[in-house]
Assembly symmetry: C2
């Protein structure tokens, strides 16, 4: 299977790590979301990454759907609990981590898509508030691995990728106020070698 | 169970319709995402709606996780196919519909969070392109109901809510170029009375 992604995408990195934990190989085919001529927009009309291309069948997106698919291919319950409270704890924590990445990306896009005079401190503050509140909640209650057969659950993977993205784009400023999360991330990286293996070059 | 939402949210509307199709009752408790004093940010640090509050257990979000939960409560396979190609067709089409709503919301937020001189035609065009490409793909291949026991599947519900949001905020301009989707939405509304019952007041 092929994965359309880019090195810096926290959502693409999440899928790459998830695939490793599911024992599946993905060939990464780089995608340029800003290039209208990239075949990506034919694979996902939204023009977003990641997208999973299979030998047969339609493309699969977004990253959460791909994780669900990979987990099912691996037999189920590898990175996502199949049912019950553990399932909804993981899926909600996954949504929180992805929401942190989304809010971080919107701050980066503020610089990428806009002229200087079009940037809004109010909007950036609004997104930064989502990141700050998410990190505060997670610092008070760092993730604990759900009952899955893989080395980590999907919410942990998503959080590691969100924090990795903050390291990449915001110079790791989050680390100062969140010692429990820093310790959690160090332990995650030791437990899941695919995290370092997918670290984007600065 | 209680649902934190607002009348205009396409994601909240999706959950309301999904609950009806799952035979479940939700008490809607209005939430104001722009009010820091609203208890919402304690329920979801991202400050986003919808959030599902249960009598016991942690809050559940986002809308896709809530739909998964409601479907499971109803026995499974009611609005989301349990496995196989139908599952991934629905989940990917759900991601596409939600992506259209997201891109529409970002255009609305451009007016809500920014002073006039901070608005960017480039950014708005970027989001409008996502909506346009999504609608073009769906016009060429309107949804067909997946093999689920409910009156509609989750992707259909999400698309109807995305189109309803375009009607609400963009005066239905999408209708001109998409006759197959207009016909599809009319048929959906006839099949799923909860769609009209959840229409936000203008």
């Amino acid at each position: 299977m092929k994965l359309r992604s880019s090195p810096a995408s926290p959502f693409g990195r999440k899928v790459k790590i998830g695939a490793v934990l599911c024992g599946l190989h993905l060939d990464v085919v780089p995608a340029d979301t800003s290039d209208p001529a990239d075949s990506l927009r034919g694979q996902n009309p939204l023009g977003k990454i990641p997208v999973l291309l299979r030998d047969e069948g339609a493309p699969i997106y977004d990253s959460r759907v791909i994780l669900d698919y990979l987990d099912a291919l691996a037999g189920g319950g590898v990175i996502i609990p199949a049912a019950g409270e553990p399932r909804y704890a993981v899926l909600t924590a996954l949504a929180l981590a992805d929401g942190i990445s989304d809010a971080a990306l919107l701050q980066v896009y503020e610089g990428r898509y806009r002229a200087a005079q079009e940037r809004s401190a109010n909007w950036v503050d609004h997104q930064a508030g989502k990141v700050a509140r998410g990190l505060k909640a997670l610092e008070a209650s760092p993730p604990r691995k759900a009952p899955v057969s893989g080395a980590a659950d999907a919410a942990e993977i998503a959080l590691a990728c969100a924090l990795g993205y903050l390291d990449l784009r915001f110079a790791g400023a989050w680390r100062a106020g969140h010692p429990a999360l820093v310790a959690w991330l160090d332990a995650f990286a030791a437990r899941v070698p695919a995290f370092e293996a997918t670290r984007p070059a600065v």
